[in-house]
Symmetry: C2
Subunit: 601 residues, 2 copies
């Protein structure tokens, strides 16, 4: 290996606002890189502060000052190595936002250049423009020479404005078009979270740029989870032909050494399935296969980091024998270790024996802790108590429903009460909200009941994908078939009420609509912003397989949006959970005023 | 009155995304203005869509198209009158954000000019830059002549960048400086929410501009509440000397007619106390007097609009006999009518007789519905049930706390269970979360307990202000002294636990710190972003009155930030409630990652 071509991509897992922790991590990676005789180490965007930053810069101005002091310390370790370190730079001008999103180039213990980000994203989870001032594309500061190689630096969003690649561009200038023709190597410092179809887009964009400008294109990404946002790592290099010739691991920290000219840099795999879809178009499919490993790894890391970074150790969840709680239990066991998970079966009189058995078999297979706590006594007490209360109130208010969800919700809330009680009694224990995305869209979840918890692992995963994920986990996990087949085969239902037509427990699809249809509606809204009229013009997959009257279809669509509108106040209090899809209803990226009245036609 | 000088300021209350509703309201106000023979009617910024817009434009693109169709309809009513109507204009360029924040000037049934907003706010509750492209200050489009008078149009934030008035400027250009010297009258279309000290700042800014450029300065503001944000109206005119010579009502819709040259336009009063403080400096005071009427009116309108715009009619709340629930009950009664409020007293064994009596007297004085539901049975059942559960779990997990909040929380959660049960059973009924700002900062509230509800009226009001508000309401409401004095005089406490030292119910100040101190810490963070070190250098009001050891002070400050940090996951699920203070922790404007580790020193 030729020393001067050795570069370390420091794919690190940082903590928002924890300058001390992040600084130490940066120094540790610089030391490692020096041991490896690298000539250059590149860190992710804003690594001293970490993303997401929320309002930390605005509310705690001393944090930015601490970043400067930390940079001073870091400098001292940069002998015999150059480093690119991201930080929030204070804007001393009398106009403009208070900070720049900057990268310091450190050489011989000195900051020799400061590169300031030009394009500031302000969509989805991004809020750069809230605190950062955009800076013109300053060629002088962005280019440096090292060992005869010319490098050009871009910062994350700076890469996302090619006028040929994108149909529509958010910004007037393309920093890559200005910098790339003048250099041998592009270095892109990024903090780019994972999402459905984003790897595909990102890969094609970088590949295209490398080829177009005949440059080597290096990309360093943050890794790790923070609340809702999960960074997948996968830092890499493209050669001048646009081929991937180096790839760091996914979902793991790494001090990744590469040789600019070597053909044998390690190329770690993308999550299974993603490679197959690198060139596919965006279309709806019920075959979730190509996205399952990514989904699994994203959620496992999300849980792991949420717990460890916040000081939680143990998770408590209700095990109903249904799909949602089952999936959560597996993911929790894999993220936290089975000894740190407690599954609680809380049967009511509507709980079938099968559900109880399934829950207990699952717990046994996973090796997690398990207890059964019947809630009949709580339900009886409350039902009885409410009878008197309601009769009393009825004398004052004549607006009593003829049929209500009160009885159903008593069960869900009794269960949450037990879980939170346990969490209050045992150190560092957190209850888990098991609601899935399909049901949250429909408001099919109980406030202070199943919606409640400290973290919501599957709040951005639709039901049909959860079924696929269950099968995938049964196949891929070291312990095969941990999930009983009966859980995967039975139709979803909360077992909170009886369907008067069948005399059996009400199924979710009776209350809502077929999940295959429901999930396609969600997908069409999130990926194409389609209205009811748009969707009436398209044949859904479900329609291709089943005979659906147009009248029924429009009824389902209208029901969907009516329920969505009524669910907005529930969305406001969904606990945090990882973003998985191309778009989500997670608060980090979507807000619809509760007071809003949209004509969804 | 000379017809050509007659202008209507259309201070309207719109609904986010409800284009049909907003359009009809606009047409109705144009008709009214024509009846009044006005030559010009001016609407608030973006009135066809309404603020706040959240992600409506991104998620439902048909809404912007519907705004265009609505504008077409509105045009037809604009004969014999000119109108300025705000709407989201689609940006047809291939670069830039997808919309402009525009104002259409309609004359003789045609759109004769389109004014595009130049300065796009992206701080606090503002997210303009998420969807809007800023436009250069286009003099041509912004100026028009009518009846020999030259008008110049600016849009809300366009007014907020005077280089002399502000110490620091967010933007490079000042539209007012460019437009005002060329015109006789400035027309400012705004959607400017109320906040502590904002009226004072806004008034001085507009007054200064009117005087500096020797123009008449007209300001039209939205009115009404949407989720967390309350617009106070108070549209107005300043003359060339910078004096207010016309002022619409506060917190009410109005079709306000003024004559540009008249000295007898109605001048409605500011909320009581605000006028006194127009020129005062920002400093902490425990005399909340000058802000109480504004606070009261803001919350009452917030509740009223939240309920009516969302289709809710009835409010249910627990009445503990404590200050928070008391204040909420009064505000709800005034907003919704006493017959639509149900106060529920839910005593446990820790509830004093005094608390029970106070709650019932309060309900009687207010004329609201009242029932008492003891929760001893629920508490006994749960306590008993938990005993077995915990002993069982203890065999698996050795991490049981020696003392815990479990018992306290059973009470709070039992109460919430009752309130939500009632809400499930009676049409359009919503439970109310009664947590106050001081306690939310400290995480001194129970998840699925008192923190839970559909709306949180006082989530942005600190405790010392609530005491002042109670006294103020007792004095100012038509029915005097509705709040029993004993509620105001007793020290706050949740009556959930016994203080082992006193043998009596634990007081909040024992668990936290003196409220007078606590509220000053909050104020210093929110107004000056102060750190622990900053605050150690300042003498607090509480210190001036009491002997506080520096060691105790730093303990309190450290405790404050430790509790704040641990409360972040609770903040994530605080229900919506109105923004009152200069800064708040409401989600519309503040986000600190739950995973964040700040050195608050």
């Amino acid at each position: 290996m030729d020393n001067k071509n050795n570069i370390v991509l420091a794919q690190i897992n940082t903590i928002s606002g924890d300058v001390e922790y992040n600084k130490n991590k940066i120094i540790e990676h610089i030391k490692l890189a020096k041991e490896k005789k690298a000539s250059l180490i590149v860190f992710p965007e804003l690594c001293l502060l970490s993303y997401p930053m929320g309002d930390i810069l605005g509310r705690y101005p001393s944090v930015a000052k601490k970043c400067l002091l930390a940079l001073d310390e870091i400098k001292e370790y940069c002998d015999n190595i150059s480093a690119l370190v991201g930080y929030p730079e204070i804007n001393n001008n009398k106009t403009g936002k208070p900070f720049y999103n900057s990268i310091a180039l450190i050489q011989n213990k000195k900051i020799t250049k400061i590169i300031r980000k030009s394009l500031l994203p302000n969509y989805q989870e991004h809020n750069d423009y809230r605190y950062f001032e955009p800076y013109r594309v300053d060629v002088e500061s962005r280019i440096f020479e090292l060992n005869g190689i010319k490098y050009g630096v871009i910062v994350c969003e700076d890469a996302w404005n090619d006028f040929e690649f994108f149909e529509r561009n958010l910004y007037e200038t393309d920093p890559v078009a200005i910098i790339a023709p003048k250099v041998d190597v592009i270095l892109c410092c990024a903090s780019s979270c994972t999402r459905a179809k984003k790897e595909q887009l990102k890969h094609n964009m970088m590949k295209t740029a490398a080829r177009k400008y005949k440059v080597k294109y290096l990309y360093v990404n943050q890794v790790g989870a923070q609340d809702e946002i999960v960074y997948d790592g996968l830092s890499r290099m493209y050669n001048e032909e646009g081929n991937v010739c180096a790839m760091a691991k996914s979902y793991e920290e790494e001090n990744y050494l590469l040789d600019l000219n070597s053909k044998t840099n390690p190329i770690n795999p993308l999550p299974e399935g993603l490679e197959l879809t690198l060139n596919s178009q965006k279309e709806f499919s019920l075959d979730h296969g190509p996205d399952l490993e990514r989904t699994y790894k994203t959620i496992v890391l999300a849980i792991k980091d949420y717990f460890s970074k916040n000081g939680f150790k143990k998770a408590i969840l209700g095990l109903s024998g249904g799909l949602d709680s089952t999936i959560c239990a597996v993911l929790l066991a894999d993220a936290l270790g089975c000894q740190n998970v407690l599954g609680v079966s809380m049967p009511s009189k509507l709980t079938s024996n099968e559900s109880k058995t399934d829950a207990s078999i699952l717990a046994h297979n996973l090796g997690i802790n398990f207890i059964e706590i019947p809630i009949k006594d709580m339900h009886d007490l409350m039902a009885d108590k409410f009878k008197n209360i309601f009769n009393n109130i009825e004398k004052k208010w004549d607006s009593r429903y003829t049929s209500s969800y009160t009885q159903d919700n008593i069960q869900a809330r009794s269960r949450a009460m037990i879980l939170w009680g346990i969490a209050n009694e045992f150190e560092r224990a957190l209850p888990i909200a098991t609601s899935d995305k399909s049901e949250l869209y429909m408001g099919y979840a109980t406030i202070n009941g199943d919606m409640s918890g400290g973290y919501a692992p599957i709040c951005d995963v639709v039901k049909t994908k959860l079924f696929a994920l269950a099968k995938w986990m049964n196949e891929k996990r070291p312990i095969k078939n941990a999930i009983p087949k009966s859980i995967i085969n039975k139709p979803p239902g909360a077992e909170l009420a009886i369907n008067p037509k069948t005399g059996k427990a009400l199924l979710a699809e009776d209350a809502l609509m077929p999940y295959e249809f429901l999930d396609e509606v969600i997908w069409r809204i999130e990926n194409f912003n389609q209205s009811i009229n748009d969707m009436m013009k398209i044949e859904f997959l479900y329609e291709k397989k089943n005979n659906v009257d147009k009248k029924v279809k429009i009824q389902w669509l209208e029901k969907f949006f009516k329920r969505l509108n009524a669910a907005l106040y529930k969305w406001y209090i969904i606990p945090p959970g990882p973003i998985i899809d191309a778009r989500s209803i997670n608060k980090a990226e979507f807000r619809q005023p509760i007071i809003s009245n949209i004509d969804y036609k």
